[in-house]
Amino acid sequence: MEQINIIMQKDYERATLLLGDLFEIDSDIIEQINCCIQNYGIGSFFKNLKTFDFPADVAEKLNAVGMVLYGMSEESLPVAQIFKEPKGGAIYEKKL
């Protein structure tokens, strides 16, 4: 099991580095993304993008990746809609 985790960890790192290349971002942001992906898992990471505190341009690009994945039916949730949530209502108030 430990070896499986090591393999997955390597793949998580590879995924994050590819995102880093795609976005052309700093290594500290890459590390932050890596940490979030490892904690949430790759699937849940894209479903929970709004919960992470990434800089706006990085969040936007991650959202774009989520949109591509959704378009390819790889993601079950329409990530694009996450960012279309109206800023108001009970959920928004609760977050504040």
């Binding site: 099991m1 070896q3 499986i4 393999i7 997955m8 793949d11 998580y12 590879r14 995924a15 590819l18 995102l19 290349d21 795609l22 898992g41 790759i42 699937g43 936007e60 690009k61 959202n63 774009a64 990746v65 989520g66 949109m67 591509v68 994945l69 959704y70 378009g71 390819m72 039916s73 790889e74 329409p78 990530v79 694009a80």
Partner: protein
């Protein structure tokens, strides 16, 4: 011909791709009217991107491969290769997105066919890669595995194993069988599909000739074989290997009895 994509999915794909690569949405929409939209990822040159856009598409494609692999791993908490299909799906996720080079990998498994380690042993050009059996042997002994799965991709899209593909499979089987390590299958990935030698019953038998020399895998050879004139020098192949091969019937059947290798 207009394709029947779900508008929501297509729109999401186009917007995301445009944001990541810089290719305009109008260009992608126009392309989607006449073509399969996902060709943009699989055959990016069809949309005539500039160098930077092409590079971004390649990176995105590779990311999607890793993403699929991780999703598979997360879904199956324990990676266990119980069938050729599981192995095929696994390596397709890993190698399917690679269109610009051949990559040779091996998965080392325990008694229960659970994965111990997966390693890349060669990354070559678009049509060939060099594989060193000694390196695979060393890695197998290091992790004390009981079985091995081999896999590589054909960027050219050919599903047929080449002579070299069969050759390296047989060489590795011949190396590992005396060590009681089974080579379970050799998966050849071509785009989103795969060919399993085990499924097709073409996994070679062990040979008494054990050779550790480097082997050149050549995707182009498979393509050539699929065409017309198939000729190969068989003088280097062992009896047991050739006994498993199907040769076209000779016009003069009496010659068959005279085969001596």
């Amino acid at each position: 011909m207009k394709r029947n994509y779900d508008k929501e999915y297509a729109s999401s794909f186009i917007k995301g791709l445009s944001r990541l690569t810089g290719i305009s949405e109008s260009k992608l929409k126009k392309y989607a009217l006449e073509n399969n939209l996902f060709n943009v990822l699989e055959h990016p040159r069809t949309i005539d991107p500039n160098k930077q856009q092409l590079e971004k598409i390649y990176i995105l494609n590779e990311f999607i491969s890793v993403y699929r692999l991780l999703k598979l791993q997360e879904h199956t908490s324990k990676l266990s290769f119980t069938s050729s299909k599981v192995a095929g799906d696994y390596f397709t996720a890993l190698l399917g997105g690679i269109k610009d080079r051949e990559k040779f990998m091996a998965a080392f498994l325990d008694n229960g066919h659970n994965i111990i380690e997966v390693r890349t042993f060669s990354e070559g050009s678009i049509a060939e890669a060099v594989v060193y059996p000694r390196a695979i042997l060393q890695a197998a002994l290091d992790c004390d595995c009981r079985a091995i799965l081999l896999a590589h991709n054909h960027p050219g899209g050919s599903m047929s194993p080449s002579i070299q593909d069969r050759d390296i499979t047989q060489r590795l089987i011949s190396i590992f069988t005396p060590l009681q390590i089974s080579v379970l299958d050799h998966i050849i990935v071509a785009g989103t599909t795969y060919h399993s030698m085990m499924e097709h019953g073409t996994l070679p038998q062990t040979s008494s000739d054990i050779c550790y020399n480097a082997i050149f895998l050549d995707d182009r050879k498979a393509a050539e074989e699929n065409e017309t004139d198939f000729r190969v020098d068989i003088s280097n192949y062992s009896k047991s290997y050739l006994s498993n091969c199907c040769f076209p019937e000779s016009e003069d059947q009496t010659d068959e009895d005279e085969w001596e290798l």
